[in-house]
């Protein structure tokens, strides 16, 4: 197994899928000649040509709709939206068309597009470049939402998303493209459903996804070292549909749940996972589940304020200590 960076893993998935099927195309702002803001399509313009690796105008709703239309006739577009903040503009086409067309056509037409986009809060990018929008996407029927926490997932999720007949939104993270991790050398397709146990434990379950998996792992290390508490970390790489079985199994084992999300708390992953815990395994609980979330503010520019607005591993440790009364 080779250790590569997240952007290299995404690039490799693009390259293999473009090579595999002449109707796979990549499109987005600056993805061609420039190779992508995060290098996810570096070199592919030269390899596959401008008709398949397409630099689009800055027209998010327009080019996303164009990708959806192309998908109606057999094309498999991988659409990069440079930042999730810009994808608000494309939500009309993603939600009103891609997510609904199968249903409202009685199953005749599908929109097998992939929309990849980095979200999350990076460093001092200000309010309009720091959105965390997974909560919005995962609330829409007809759309699959996945979010990788490591290069292996990023590679395998994109591969499966391209081949899957449903529209898939892949929520990436601006801070994670240079993260290193092992990716199988042979071709690998990651499931678009389910969850992974990132760390086994017995005392409490920490639910994370994308960047918050790493906060959970860090917190689990601190809890083990300083308090002798063994936390289980569940990686919810699939946000829609969420893995009800995986959530129930872990909570039934540890009887305690903390959900860690980078976004504001309202109507988010934490709220949804808590609802599932209530529905699936309420009587397994030894304590009320809690969520560790961002503050309910637009993300500030000032670095200290920005840091204060976001959760981190220490907040997770504190939440567990409070839950356990230690």
């Amino acid at each position: 197994m080779a250790e590569i960076m997240m952007w290299e893993a995404i690039l490799r998935a693009h390259d293999e899928e473009l090579a595999n099927d002449p109707l796979v195309i990549a499109m987005g702002e600056d993805i061609g000649v420039v190779g992508g803001t995060y290098k996810a399509t570096l070199g592919l313009y030269d390899k596959y040509g401008e008709k398949r690796v397409i630099d689009t105008p800055i027209s998010e709703n327009g080019y996303t709709g164009l990708g959806i239309g192309a998908s109606f006739v057999g094309v498999r577009p991988i659409i990069e939206i440079m930042s999730v903040n810009f994808s608000w503009l494309a939500m009309d086409q993603i939600f009103n068309t891609a997510a609904k067309v199968r249903y409202m056509s009685g199953g005749q037409l599908t929109a097998p597009i992939v929309v990849r986009s980095p979200g999350g809060t990076a460093h001092q990018l200000g309010s309009q470049h720091s959105a965390r929008m997974e909560k919005v996407y995962m609330g829409i029927a007809g759309l699959r939402v996945v979010t990788p926490s490591n290069p292996r997932q990023a590679y395998g999720l994109l591969k499966s998303a391209v081949r899957c007949n449903d529209p898939v939104f892949i929520n990436e993270h601006e801070l994670m493209y240079n993260m290193k991790g092992e990716v199988p050398e042979e071709e690998y397709f990651h499931p678009l459903v389910g969850s992974e146990i990132a760390r086994e434990g017995r005392d409490v379950t920490l639910f994370g996804y994308n960047i918050s998996v790493h906060w959970c792992l860090q917190a689990a290390g601190l809890l083990s070292k300083h308090h002798g508490i063994e936390a289980e970390v569940i990686d919810l790489y699939a946000l829609s549909p969420l893995d009800r079985d995986g959530i129930r199994t872990s909570v039934s084992k540890t009887h305690r749940a903390v959900i860690v999300e980078e976004a504001e708390p309202a109507v988010g992953v934490g709220a949804e996972v808590m609802a599932i815990i209530n529905e699936e395994c309420f009587f397994e609980l030894d304590a009320a589940p809690v969520r560790v979330s961002a503050l309910n503010v637009p993300i500030p520019y000032n670095h200290a304020l920005e840091k204060a607005a976001l959760p981190d591993a220490n907040d997770v440790v504190e939440a567990v200590r409070k839950m356990l009364g230690i």
Partner: protein
């Protein structure tokens, strides 16, 4: 155009008129629900353009005023009416309704309910055609008011930039819902607006099906010839309100009377009569036959068709049994 084709077009337009009028009644009778946008007055637009196209080969996409475009593209009128009656036998299995007629076998790619939504979808279908190397084109019908959406500009820019085989047909009926075009739009001639993207365009009389056909032949030749997109504006008028919930109070009766004198069906009928190719009695017989067909074939089929099963309410949300959802064959 041959006389036989003119007579066939006359019957098709008359059928479209009677079909839509019968929809109105069915709506009042509560057999049709939701929003209903009718096409009377505009028949020459869809019929003239699609007469010049290769229906079933070329892709057609439009807005929510979509019944007639689907039928002229090849859809069975019974299945269109069954859709309006929300039946399982409807083109979209009763899941779409009036605004979402889909019939992919005939390459009718749908009716969409967000104004301006189909602009980029049409460009995308054209992109797919271009990638696959076929000689199909995509024809996108939208109203004048859709041109004030961002998707108009975004899509025309990309279509021109990449030379996509798409024909945009603007059915300019002078009103965006209840707002007259001069109160919503700075440039009244819509065909002029596409000059900003170097897209060739023309304006034609949308009430005269022969003129529409002639303009469409030229437009389609351009697009199919690999010369990129084309924009055709057709000046027309809808007799009814925007939808059934529209009281039509914003228009003067004088204006309505003026347009009714240029009715596309009557104009073609009178021309055929004047040329000695049709008698008024033949027209009356044609009308009776059309009305009978709609009542006895179309309405009866819709009314007698079954509703969808309630247990199927969650069907068609996502692909069923797609192996890639579980990572292909590698994860069982």
């Amino acid at each position: 155009m041959k006389d036989a084709d003119k007579k066939r077009l006359l019957r098709e337009m008359l059928f479209a008129r009677r079909f839509e009028e019968r929809c109105y009644e069915a709506y009042v009778e509560r057999n049709i629900g939701g929003f209903l946008h009718l096409y009377p007055g505009e028949e020459a637009c869809a019929h003239g353009v699609l007469e010049a196209a290769r229906t079933g080969h070329d892709y057609v996409i439009t807005s929510y005023r979509d019944h007639v475009h689907a039928i002229k593209s090849g859809s069975d009128p019974r299945a269109v009416m069954a859709e309006l009656f929300s039946r399982e036998t409807g083109v979209s299995k009763g899941r779409g309704g009036s605004m979402h007629i889909f019939d992919i076998r005939h390459r009718f790619m749908g009716g969409y309910a967000l104004v301006g939504g189909p602009f980029p979808l049409a460009a995308g279908i054209a992109k797919g055609i271009q990638l696959k190397g076929g000689d199909e084109i995509c024809i996108c019908f939208l109203g004048d008011a859709a041109n004030n959406q961002g998707t108009f500009h975004e899509s025309l820019n990309m279509a021109a930039l990449w030379g996509l085989p798409v024909l945009y047909v603007c059915e300019n009926n002078l009103y965006g819902i209840g707002t007259r075009i001069d109160r919503s739009t700075a440039v009244l001639d819509q065909y002029k607006r596409v000059a900003a993207y170097n897209i060739p365009s023309a304006q034609a009389d949308g009430q005269d099906v022969e003129l529409v056909y002639k303009a469409a032949v030229k437009a389609i030749k351009h697009v199919r010839g690999g010369k990129g997109p084309y924009f055709l504006e057709l000046m027309t008028y809808r007799y009814r309100g925007h939808s059934m919930s529209d009281s039509n109070a914003y228009r003067t009766r004088t204006e309505e009377r003026m347009w009714s004198k240029r009715d596309p069906i009557i104009m073609l009928r009178d021309r055929l009569v004047k040329d000695g190719k049709l008698t008024l009695q033949e027209y009356k017989d044609m009308d009776s036959a059309v009305l009978d067909e709609i009542e006895e074939e179309v309405i009866r089929f819709a009314a007698e068709s079954p509703e969808p099963h309630i247990s199927d309410v969650e069907k068609y949300v996502l692909a069923e049994n797609d192996p890639w959802v579980r990572g292909g064959g590698q994860h069982g």
